[in-house]
């Protein structure tokens, strides 16, 4: 092959990448929402209605907020309310709105070494895990789930430390894979768990405690801080999510008949 042919091939290879006629936005979001399959269900509905393509970058909440703070996104959709409110207070987002919730669950092996299966009391369950020295795999990555986990440990009065406590520093799915491999308990959001394909003998051990409530919020990135932000398209997306139509769509996403997310946006007069 001559150099000229190679150059030609390169031009052909890169040419289609430059053409992006339709409008698109970038949503910085979390691995838990992406791994649950929610976006695969939701986005075609929105794109079909508006023609706006939504590109989701799925990382931990901490990194999603950092990326959005660098102006590398138009909308932020995460689950760590204090950090979200700080983001808005710093002027990086225009407004934070409750969007939907689900809940966290603790999953564990059938052997149940800490004897917590069937519990509805997360604080007692975490104490039992610590007392039994049963393995617990943590995200350890500053994600929304990790932040929630740290709040729960604090409420339980336990400083998680020792051989049994194993921060993986990875996403939700990776932490589940690791935890299941080690026979460790894992705190996960319910949606990811329902959609997870490598459950082996794992079951939900703890669920249904009010403290395990998992609230998601949506925040358009502030154009005053980030001039390149696609204000209208971004606002169209967050408005649609919060509208009765979007909320209905969220409620409609089910796996095996189980609803994964529960919309709870404030009712607006339309």
């Amino acid at each position: 092959m001559t150099f000229r042919n190679l150059t030609l091939a390169a031009m052909l290879a890169t040419a289609p990448l430059c053409a992006q006629a339709e409008e698109s936005i970038i949503v910085q979001s979390t691995t838990s929402t992406a791994n649950s399959g929610l976006y695969d269900y939701l986005l075609p509905l929105f794109t079909g209605k508006t023609g706006i393509t939504v590109n989701v970058v799925a990382v931990g909440t901490g990194q999603a907020i950092k990326n959005a703070a660098n102006c590398d996104g138009d909308v932020l959709l995460v689950h760590a309310k204090p950090a979200e409110e700080k983001f808005v207070a710093e002027g990086r987002g225009t407004q934070r709105t409750d969007l939907m919730y689900n809940d966290f669950v603790v999953v564990g092996p059938a052997a149940d070494p800490a004897g917590i299966a069937g519990s509805h009391d997360i604080e007692a369950a975490l104490k039992s895990i610590a007392d039994a020295g049963a393995a617990f795999a943590s995200r350890g990555d500053d994600s929304g789930t990790h932040k929630a986990e740290m709040r729960l440990w604090q409420a339980a009065g336990v400083t998680p430390d020792g051989d049994w406590y194993r921060p993986t520093g990875s996403g939700m799915g990776a932490t589940l894979n690791t935890g299941i491999g080690m026979g460790a308990y894992v705190l996960t959001d319910r949606a990811t768990w329902i959609n997870f394909g490598n459950k082996q003998d794992y079951q939900i051990a703890v669920e249904g405690d009010d403290a395990m409530f998992n609230q998601y919020g949506v925040i358009p990135v502030n154009p005053a801080r980030c001039p390149a932000v696609k204000v209208d398209a971004g606002k169209a997306f967050s408005d649609w999510l919060l509208s009765p139509e979007g909320q209905e769509a969220i409620a409609g996403y089910k796996i095996d008949g189980q609803q994964l997310f529960f919309p709870n946006a404030p009712k607006v007069a339309n």
Partner: protein, 236 residues
């Protein structure tokens, strides 16, 4: 563990009867990694040739640095390119983050040291043979470099393949600068990472097998091309 059996069955099915999503992902993988390979050859080959024909103070240090850069972790490259292309970064105005172009850049940064260092090695060996003749002919440095690259082309194809192989197999860099966005920046490796994180291990492994089949096909194609070129050269 039944995942292995499932994976091979699934991979076999995918190769025989690819879904449009899979074709899209495979196409993007090839487009990104081949473009990155080409870009890194355009930079790395002349750089390697220059280092092969020149002697200057500090050259040893440059070679050590170049060899060390061959071991750059992809995730570090991804981070550097992310920081450069981020809206908050120096090249943010280009709006390239989370596009295939950003992925090409990141992979090119990753493999250019490999192409440069390996081609330096190949061409320096060749230069030992040619240097006196070139000096006798009073060739300029550029003429020498071009002739070396042309005469070393067979070995350099292997160098380019090594670069392509590393690019198409890496996940850390494209994950950060591409964002693994469905239908936009999702490539084989990030799709594998995603399926793994979803616990779909058989599907992830099946994609891995498809990736290996593609790598094999690319290598075989290049090998075939080379054999043909050599045969033509011998019988012209």
């Amino acid at each position: 563990m039944q995942d292995f059996g499932d994976a091979f069955a699934l991979a076999f099915g995918l190769v025989l009867n690819p879904t449009s999503d899979l074709l899209e992902i495979v196409g993007l993988s090839l487009r990104v990694s081949l473009s990155a390979c080409l870009l890194s050859c355009l930079i790395g080959l002349p750089l390697g040739a220059l280092l092969a024909v020149t002697r200057f103070r500090g050259r040893g240090a440059v070679l050590v640095l170049l060899n060390a850069l061959m071991g750059l972790p992809p995730v570090v490259v991804g981070l550097l390119v992310y920081l450069a292309l981020s809206r908050a970064g120096p090249l943010g105005f280009l709006g390239l983050l989370y596009t295939p172009t950003a992925m090409i850049l990141a992979q090119a940064v990753l493999i250019t040291p490999i192409v440069a260092a390996l081609s330096r090695q190949v061409l320096e060996g060749l230069n030992d043979e040619y240097a006196d003749q070139f000096r006798s002919l009073c060739l300029t440095r550029w003429q020498s470099m071009a002739a070396l690259i042309r005469d070393g082309r067979t070995a350099l194809v292997t160098v380019a393949l090594a670069g392509f192989g590393r690019a198409v197999a890496e996940v850390g860099a494209v994950m950060i600068v591409g964002g693994n966005i469905d239908h936009l920046t999702r490539v084989m490796t990030t799709a594998i990472a995603l399926e793994t994180s979803k616990g779909e291990l058989a599907r992830a492994l099946a994609l891995g097998i498809v990736l290996m089949v593609i790598a094999l096909a690319v290598n075989a194609a290049v090998q075939g091309l080379r054999t043909r070129t050599e045969a033509e050269a011998a019988h012209a």
